[in-house]
């Protein structure tokens, strides 16, 4: 019997502390679980419960995956207590991925805030994997403070030297500390003076609801059309398979029709930013 509710036993290989509220868990499921960037999985603490997360590692990595989780509720607090060697459950992947084929030949703008960088990291790594297919990638990252920046070693260091012609970064913090020499301001400020041919561009936004709302409005203001904006909608995806009813968004279920939505498909729906 094919049981979509049955989790795969998964070992925690490593726990990486990203910030004081965010950790990345390196996981090895007992049987293969291949996802595409943007799809999500359900991660469970055995006997306690589960919650949905979008993997943050490269979809091309075999046998292992990483999930970046902010401590926000009951399950995520328990997940934060996990140690190397602990067992968790995984199900998935579920939902619609980022449509990479539609991004080919385009100037790609990634806009991420806080833990919303997680799905974008998976997407970024997928783009980098075939970077010659894309015209350019501009990755705009916003965090509250310098210590809230996740994937510091990648964002501030390793990724900077990848392909300087094609791949660029704009990194900002809402509030600086003494050591911070970079930009200060909300992530929307990184969208000013874009050196992008908007006609041949797509933008992908992921972050807290309020950040997605203002980033989307800003993108529209600077000339992006709704059909050029992709959003990852965070809803209460419980079953993950379009049955339990929790993540309904108008005529869609975030779990099966999303979580990646093109903005023009959902812009008419009430309650999308709440």
């Amino acid at each position: 019997m094919d049981n979509p509710y049955l989790p795969i036993k998964t070992e925690v290989l490593d726990v990486i502390e990203e910030s004081h509220t965010i950790k990345t868990f390196r996981l090895k499921p007992e049987s293969s679980l291949r996802f595409k960037a943007g799809q999500f999985i359900e991660m469970s603490i055995p006997g306690i419960g589960e919650a949905p997360f979008t993997p943050s590692s490269s979809p091309y990595e075999k046998d292992k995956l990483e999930i970046t989780i902010m401590k926000a509720g009951r399950i995520t607090s328990l997940i934060h207590n996990l140690k190397k060697g602990d067992m968790v459950g995984l199900r998935g992947p579920y939902g619609k991925e980022y449509p990479l084929a539609e991004f080919e030949g385009k100037e790609i703008l990634l806009v991420g805030g806080g833990v919303g960088l997680a799905p974008l990291r998976a997407l970024f790594l997928a783009l980098v994997h075939d970077i010659e297919k894309y015209k350019s990638v501009l990755f705009c990252c916003g965090s509250r403070t310098p210590s809230d920046i996740i994937y510091k070693d990648c964002v501030l260091d390793k990724w900077q030297g990848l392909d300087k012609k094609r791949i660029k970064f704009r990194i900002t913090v809402d509030r600086k500390d003494e050591a911070w020499k970079g930009n200060v301001g909300l992530v929307t400020t990184t969208l000013d003076k874009l050196e992008i041919n908007l006609k041949n561009s797509v933008s992908i936004v992921c972050g807290p609801p309020i950040m997605m709302k203002f980033a989307t409005f800003k993108l529209l203001e600077i000339g992006y059309k709704p059909e050029q904006i992709y959003l990852s909608m965070e809803k209460n995806m419980s079953c993950g398979v379009g049955k339990c009813g929790h993540c309904r968004l108008g005529n869609f279920y975030a779990c099966k029709d999303g979580p990646v939505f093109r903005y023009d498909k959902i812009s008419h729906i009430h309650e999308i930013w709440d």
């Binding site: 019997m1 094919d2 049981n3 979509p4 509710y5 049955l6 989790p7 036993k9 469970s44 603490i45 055995p46 006997g47 306690i48 419960g49 589960e50 919650a51 902010m70 926000a72 509720g73 009951r74 399950i75 995520t76 067992m87 459950g89 609801p209 965070e234 809803k235 209460n236 419980s238 079953c239 993950g240 398979v241 379009g242 049955k243 339990c244 009813g245 929790h246 993540c247 309904r248 108008g250 005529n251 009430h270 309650e271 999308i272 709440d274």
Partner: protein, 340 residues
Amino acid sequence: MGPYFINKSNLDRLAKCLSKTYKIFAPIKSDDKRFFKKLGEDGLKDSVIGEIRTVEPVKSFYFPARTKIAEYFSEECPDKKERPIAIIGAKACDLVSFKVMDYVYGQEPFRDPFYVSMRDSGLIISSDCTCYGETCFCAAIGIMPYPAEGFDINLSELDGGYVAEAGSVKGEKIIKEYFRLFQSAEPYIEKKDSNRKKLKEDLLEHVKKSKIPPRDSIQAAFKAKFDSPLWEEVSRTCVECGACNYVCPACHCFILMDQKKEESFERLRMWDSCLLMSFARVAGGANPRKLLAQRMRNRFDKKFNFFPDVIGRFGCTGCGRCIEACPGRIDIREVLSKLQ
């Protein structure tokens, strides 16, 4: 094939024969209400095949309030085979609710194996309503009080027996196998049709009083009332008990619950209610429907806007169970009447 006539004692014989293969449930009457009861040695002696729907929704047999759906990290897979379920005396509103449930649970690419296998192996012997209840309003939303489809066999009660009509290959096979229990329906057809016509007219007269908008205008009327004080008004007496969801034959939402079980862990699927505050809340506290009025509106949105778009029919069967169950006396007919 058919239709045929089967008298009461022969239907009882048929039920007893079928009980070798199926776990059979049929309605009995208690305190002027009808409840499904497992068929015992007495067969259909106390059963009420006609009249109206039971108190509990028929979904509870295929999508029980609490189902163990996974036991994980253990080697054993307890896939215990139970006898399939046969329902005798399901009503038209029950059958229509399967359209919603079958869509949700049978939808690819992840079919719900528990629901689907019970539906596939189950048997539905439905029956015409022979009267209507005060809260019945199926006819107002285009459902007649006698089944049109979705049954294996349908029974129309009259003259000490039933006109039996097969609605599926499974139903035809049963009639063929027990052919000696059936006789010609010829003398009864006219009466069956006139009974149906009379009940339909009576029911249409009854639902007129509710002033529900014409069926084809309900969705547009709902959309027009999306931003209106109506939802606050309607939810004023709601105590968020979830009873309307639980008794609704078309409410399919559930919550997954995990628990420890000796050496392994089990996952339960339990009915959930969209009127509860936590229904759409995410970790961190964001909640697209913080207000009760939003959740009330969402219930109507799902039934009268979402399902018409998605499967071309309402997520409401007009059974009226929610009206009887609501301690706040919220009457779905009244809400619908206020849409126009």
